[in-house]
Amino acid sequence: MKRDYLLFLLFTLVVLVAPLAFEGGYLLNVLVFMGINTMLAVALNLLLGFAGQISLGHAAFFGLGAYISGVLTANHGVNPWVALPIAALSVGVIAFLLGFPILKLKGHYLAMATLGFGIIVFIVFNETVEITGGPSGLTGIPTMKIGAMEFQGEMKSYYLIWGFTLLTMLLSINLDHSRIGRALRAIHDSEVASRVMGVNARFLKVQVFTLSAVISAVAGSLYAHTMTFVSPSSFGFNFSVELVTMVIIGGLGSIFGSFLGAALLTFLPELLRVVQDYDIVVYGLLLIVMTMYMPKGLAGGVASLARLLRPAKKRTVDHAQG
């Protein structure tokens, strides 16, 4: 438990200093998107990793956040700082109402239902042309401002987004080490036993589903105000799958794992640009190989690497003494 907080402190320091090394470069841009992806992965991990409930439609909550915030600010002149909580709140209400029937489902039925929800929302983005601008997207979304300072340009966007991301991570770590986090993990391991212990599994699942959706919506709103443009193609089924991949590759139930997964999947296209047209093949292959040989994800991989190194050191000491 202490370790998590120490790690978080260290991580925060790295996040705060990192952009100084990349100033003006394109990589800073990638880091901004990495922040958004991390936030989304952490949010999904609460649901998938802790409570063990799959969602193949999380891009919809991200998209709803982005569109609600975007439409309010671009078409109705609402201040972004007002639009963000409105987006979060309305997505929260949607998720809460949806959560009760949808979380009654289990396994692949849940996968299919969340997938269906994602597709419905995607279609709505496309079809409500008068409101969302349809498939060609919504333009003219303003950036965020505090007083006279506008969050424009990579450096400011970086700190804005990573501020929210770090907050999300901290809250998730807190939650993990509380009665709610324990109850969620208990549901994951044995729903029957957790209910016998008095855990209201159904309500708790709905709660965490809602929380996860709200965080995703906040990420969506930030995304909209950073990009100043949104279009439906960013919120389709593929992105939902990519999010699940981030969480699993990173390591189920590990907050820092979610960061690692998001970081890897954000960076991977940059690295794969070297192999050009073969990138999609290499990407598929990497997914397979990593899942096969790192069943506990990157977080698990890092942990076992650390374990491997430790006895090695001890062994050399023993050897020296012998």
Binding site: P135, S136, D277
Partner: protein
């Protein structure tokens, strides 16, 4: 004193050296195309054509003695990726101008980025809102949708086919076409009886066509890109729909005729002149360029050059013209692009001005009909 003299010498030397280097360094041009992903039917020919032009320029000794380096990134049709990659081109690759992206959505996403950085962008997508309102840095080569719509509506008006059913694809291309079709209908005295859509990956459109069959429409206009319209042509034949079928310039390639087979017979569509280059009258000013473009493209890539490839060809040639006229700074390029007059491209004859960054008139399109698996000009 001595030290500042030394510093001055060093400074002069550095500047001189840098200038020297620059002269021998290639001109870096960025390109964003959706080479993979759903709009790859646009991105791939565009990339091919752009590369073709760049190679030709370099073989011919470059522009003012300097080679051209084309840096192409694949956006996969995703707006988020397009923005990231535009940033990469500007910041890491330090390009002087960008051509692409392939779709209107991506272009709109990239627009604020190039505007802020002050880098000229020549988009290869058709959406009208890219250049309306005019943005100093943003140009485009693809013909505006509204010109294609005007072509069809003019013809329908002439033939007195005024009750029309629409069937458009629900992606950026279809949505933009649908918007224009609805906007211009009244001005041409056209009444829209049906307004249906279909998904880009749908495999059966008989339901929509059945609905259309149940109305009193005189003609059907379908707005989409392959393979959807081919499915629609086949479905229409299956249902025995006798109405004249109009398509968009999105399917003006041989591919459509291959896919739709017999069902393609009699389909009419507006198209850039490139596919009918050989049947154009010799007096047509574009003819010479078009034929050489088609030939060269075919030689290199084994397929016929279509007008999507033409968009990138035009963009590269426009850029070449602007570079030949002046400096290779982004500001100079944008300024010179705006002064382009009567450039005979693949998509049409371009004349840019401070109030018009699309540069084409409705003459850019001709109306063609498919007869015996080939194109015939409709007079």
């Amino acid at each position: 004193m001595k030290r500042s003299a030394a510093a001055f010498c060093l400074f002069v030397f550095t500047v001189a050296w840098a200038t020297l280097c620059q002269a021998s360094q290639p001109i870096r041009i960025g390109a964003l195309f959706s080479v993979t992903g759903p709009p790859s039917f646009l991105g791939e020919p565009e990339r091919n054509a752009a590369q073709m032009v760049a190679d030709q320029i370099n073989k011919g000794g470059g522009i003012k003695g300097r080679q051209v380096q084309l840096i192409v990134y694949d956006t996969q049709g995703d707006a988020t990726k397009a923005v990231q990659l535009a940033n990469k081109l500007i910041k890491d690759d330090k390009v002087v101008a960008i051509i692409g992206p392939s779709t209107t959505g991506e272009t709109m996403a990239v627009l604020p980025v190039v505007e802020k950085a002050g880098i000229p962008l020549i988009s290869c997508s058709a959406g009208r809102k890219i250049t309306e309102p005019v943005n100093h840095w943003v140009f485009k080569t693809a013909q505006n949708d509204n010109l294609a719509v005007t072509r069809i509506y003019d013809y329908l008006q002439k033939k007195k086919l005024t009750r029309v059913a629409l069937l458009t694809v629900s992606d950026g291309f279809g949505a933009s076409g649908r918007e224009q079709l609805k906007a211009q209908a009244a001005a041409h005295g056209i009444q829209l009886l049906v307004d249906e859509t279909y998904g880009p990956k749908d495999t059966d459109m008989t339901a929509q066509l059945t609905k259309i069959k149940g109305t009193k429409a005189d003609a059907v206009i379908c707005w989409g890109t392959n393979p959807g319209p081919a499915v629609i042509a086949r479905n229409a034949k299956q249902l025995g729909l006798k109405l004249p079928l109009f398509m968009s310039h999105g399917v003006s390639s041989k591919k459509f005729i291959d896919l739709a087979g017999d069902a393609a017979e009699g389909v009419t569509l507006p198209s850039g002149k490139v596919i009918v280059a050989d049947v154009l009258p010799a007096s047509d000013p574009q003819r010479k360029w078009l034929i050489s473009f088609v030939k060269e493209y075919q030689k290199l890539y084994k397929v016929e050059g279509d007008h999507f490839a033409g968009h990138a060809w035009d963009a590269m040639m426009l850029l070449k013209g602007a570079l030949e006229k002046g400096d290779d700074t982004p500001a100079a390029i944008a300024g010179n692009l705006e002064k382009t007059k009567e450039f005979h491209g693949i998509g049409g004859i371009f004349t840019y001005s401070p109030t018009d960054h699309a540069g084409l008139t409705k003459d850019a399109f001709v109306l063609v009909e498919i007869k015996n698996k080939d194109w015939v000009l409709v007079k």
